[in-house]
Point group: C2
Chain length 188, copies 2
């Protein structure tokens, strides 16, 4: 999974680099770990932001933080920061020798948007995938339309469609990878 801080839109639909939110990193790392995805890539082209994240990793994986909060450490061990989506693609291709397929998420519906059920069916085939989420006002349009799959937006009950990215990641991973029908001991 990759969380893009560039290229994304701001409120006025300019293409910008968004700032890292450290809570996003911790939350999303825990969610990615919960559903056992291979890796969580934070994508930003800004060197200063990359340095900030690396310092944060060191604190929580090697420093005092690792002792204080071991479940946070475990989540961050599968997290990395890279400078572009192309670098994520190259790394995954390097692991598996095959260019991964890209899945975009967006709060808007696109002409080719597919349902979660269709996506689950595709995921059952033996390919590598990168699931993309955007920060700020969403991923720049040509990136979205250039992917292999675009997931339909998460809709609630009516037309209010403003989930925080942390919430969208949680819901999307649960829909794609969650086990909804477990064998709970059930009361009457």
């Amino acid at each position: 999974m990759a969380l893009l801080h560039y290229p994304v839109y701001n409120k006025n639909l300019d293409i910008v680099v968004s700032s890292i939110t450290t809570l996003d990193i911790h939350d999303i790392a825990r969610i990615v770990r919960t559903y056992s995805l291979g890796k969580f890539y934070i994508v930003t082209p800004l060197k200063s932001q990359m340095e900030l994240i690396k310092r944060l990793f060191r604190h929580w994986t090697d420093g005092y933080g690792a002792l204080y909060n071991p479940t946070r450490k475990e989540a961050l061990l599968k997290t990395d920061v890279v400078k572009s989506l192309e670098d994520v693609i190259k790394e995954v291709e390097g692991f598996h020798g095959k260019r991964p397929l890209l899945i975009a998420t967006d709060a808007k519906r696109f002409p080719g948007s597919i349902s979660y059920d269709k996506m689950i069916y595709s995921l059952s085939k033996k390919n590598q995938y990168i699931l993309l989420f955007g920060t700020a006002w969403g991923i720049e349009k040509s990136i979205v339309t250039g992917t292999d799959f675009i997931l339909e937006p998460i809709m609630g009950i009516d037309d209010y469609n403003h989930l925080p990215v942390r919430g969208a990641v949680a819901i999307t991973l649960d829909r794609l990878f969650g086990r909804r029908n477990s064998h709970a001991s059930e009361s009457a």
Copy 2:
């Protein structure tokens, strides 16, 4: 829905009052609004924390924030802060003239834990419900076992079970109220 800051456990399993996290409030308010729940109650017995939240509400619903971020305003209009779970129950009872049923969520499984499918079936009956989430290390045990329903924990792929409460709320509401099978126009 109610988010409890008391009585909850800390890391050492002492019963404590946890601190308000303002980002929790904004995230959860957006998620609750997305799934059109009646109301989001933040529960804390601390007057200073209640005052902080009320100031935050004023900023985002009447102040400059309402103009700057109208979708945040809309989410917060259904949010309130109260001093105890008993006060939440009384208010909901006042709306509907009938004591609401309580649903607990917990990261641990309890003997009577029920599945999401069973819970969805119960929700289709004409009752009022309050869905409880705990902050910190979870809701004090006697509150959980005293509810009418305990939802089974959200499990991922293996035994890592440390979702942030923001993520747990998103997944739970989507499982109970989300529409997973929409009529998306689908590509091949």
